[in-house]
Amino acid sequence: MRMTGAQMVCESLLREGVEVVFGIPGGAILPLYQTMPQYPQIRHILVRHEESAAMAADAYFRASGKLSVAMATSGPGATNLVTGLACAMMDSSAFVAITGQVSRAAIGKDAFQETDTTGVTLPVTKHNYLVMRAGDIPRVMMEAFYIARTGRPGPVLVDIPKDVFIEQDEFEYPESVDLPGYKPTLHGHPTQIRKAARLIKESQRPVILAGHGVTLSQAFQELKELAEKAQIPVITTLLGVSSFPGNHILNLGMPGMHGVAWSSLAIDRADLLISLGARFDDRVTGRVSAFAPRAKVVHVDVDPAVIGMNVKTHVPIVGDLRRVLRSLNREVEAATHTEWLAEIEQLRRDHPSLHIRDTGNLTQQYVIRKLWELTEGKALVVTGVGQHQMWAAQHYQFLNPNSFITSGGLGAMGFEVPAAMGAKVARPDALVWSIAGDGGFQMTMAELATMAEHKLSVKFALMDNRFLGMVRQWQDLFYKRAFYATEYTRSPDFVKLADAFGILGLRVTERSQVAEAIQEAMAYDGPALVDFVVDPEENVYPMIPPGESTHELIEAPKEAKGVPATRRRDILPPEGDF
């Protein structure tokens, strides 16, 4: 069938099952936008900034496993996508970005709003395309979606000059992709899997390190089966936090820079470390030479390049984690590690990493614990980057698989707002709580308008400490409390701001008000924001200083200013198994 390039893009989106586009139009992409009304099946969400389009599309994929599109015009529209692309790229999340480009004849002439978009985005995309003929659009679109979702997922960008949208050609959607240079390995090699099973059998002190790969390959059941069958404790990375039930007896929680001490120490003492879809980020390993010094390493990942990149591996297994685990679970023999578990239990007792100091003040940890209680651990939690993010990972005990969405690898502030929006679009029935930093929130808060417009009922727990908290913490600990450029001396009135955006706004300054405000926000039919005015003096512990090892782990503040040690106690009694 003969049609325009713009129609071909839309036809391709239908064939790829795209339901949502997040975007902002502009000159170069206008021919596509003006064609979209012919395709009402595709829902367009007009965001307030292209970075939000990318981050919303990223979170949409994380929440649902489905691909959506971030659309932007040439030049500034395209460059605004960059942070969102980099964020998705680092965390193996995926979407397809479609950008308008200046007309073919103007390319290379420094035309108005011309940017070398494929050049700029090359290192932050899994692959990208500049389409110079309308006839290429169907093939390129099919390849883009295929590359984005298969293997190790990643964002793919398609840049299309304005006149290519207008050009007419024959539309024929290919049956399948033909990419001789792209063939992800999915089945783990049987010999390697048998080797891993043998190491598991021989080990006395095994630990599993579960990363984002568990969620990406939907291997929750398989992970649980392995852990239970061979009785192996599970340590979860930041992106793996909700890949194993938070209340499971074998769940140790997060290791590393702000992980719980017993997880880091268990890795330190382990004789076998089984990494499942994790890539040994430096926030996990600390100083690599001192990481898991006694352990043999089994590393399963769909991306061969991350195996052996940071940590020496004894048994590499390349493949889709779920498939590999299914095969591995058949090979692995049932076992018990009673002594090892008892040793870890002792570590837990010796290191009260999750105890909260009772300063009498309203703290983020307290709010997060309350939020966890009141949502019964079942909310879909999205965060920004900083102290609140770490506390969310530490203190919220996730009971549902894939219920924690956060910018791990890039650590992009501002994620908390658009990502919560994207997650809500993907899972409209989920209770989405965004635990937001007042810094990150102010980067992308314009999307409150988008959420009000589309009745996206996201709930915001704004951790209003009037500081760039995590940076302040580093100034506090490593720069002799020289606080510079981290304080907001005049933040907006967030309750009035909520009101201006047409959403519910509440303010909480005392602990006694926390529960009620959370409940009121949840009961409200629509987006809501609770401004928790929290103590800026709190720091995240434990902490392993950057570049150090578990030996340098700081368990708790030496003696917090003005708070006598006798007043320290748990706010909440130890709950369940955790």
């Binding site: 979702r149 240079g181 089945h187 090699h189 052996g308």
Partner: protein, 178 residues
């Protein structure tokens, strides 16, 4: 140690840029790079000489495979290979020195491709050592310009070179399925 890698890649705009960008970003050192058409239409062959130990070469290979346009990467370092480089050397030559230079050219089985009143252009092919030796010997005469292509390499006999696994350890090298 220097490793010779040969990659079969799609002949598309931007491929060289993708590879170069990857090398730069990952901090890998390319000692030389030569690109040209292959026997298969639409595909180019690139010879890289990479400086580094085997872990680095393994990372380079894996990162190359991650590029969608890279079809195959072979490591020729461990194989029986022939490798050649071509150089053009413009050297100052006077009536007095010309015959001496021409003798050197003969010894190295090089050729003279341009003659002018005060210079010669010499074409020499061989392995890097040979070219380096000739260059050294010509230096006292005054080298005005030197241009080396970088190494191109191929296995001897029937084999097409040891394909480096896409994966780590024993993984099946080809698979298709979403």
């Amino acid at each position: 140690m220097k490793h010779t890698l040969v990659a079969l890649v799609q002949d598309k705009p931007g491929v060289l840029n993708r590879i170069a960008a990857m090398f730069r970003r990952r901090g890998f050192n390319i000692a030389s790079l030569a690109v040209g058409q292959s026997e298969q239409p639409g595909l180019s062959r690139m010879t890289f000489v990479v400086d580094g130990d085997s872990t680095i070469v393994e990372q380079v290979t894996k990162q190359m495979y991650k590029l969608i346009d890279v079809i195959r990467v072979s490591d020729l370092s461990t194989e029986e290979t022939v490798s050649r480089e071509l150089a053009l050397i413009k050297v100052r030559a006077t009536a007095q020195t010309r015959s001496e230079i021409m003798q050197l050219v003969d010894i190295f089985r090089a050729g003279i491709v341009d003659v002018s009143p005060d210079s010669l252009v010499i074409e020499v092919t061989g392995d890097e050592d040979k070219i380096t030796s000739l260059t050294k010997l010509l230096k006292p005469f005054g080298i005005r310009e030197l241009m080396r292509t970088g190494r191109v390499a191929m296995t001897r006999g029937g084999a097409g070179g040891q394909e480096r696994g896409r994966g780590n350890g024993a993984t099946p090298s080809k698979e298709t399925e979403a």
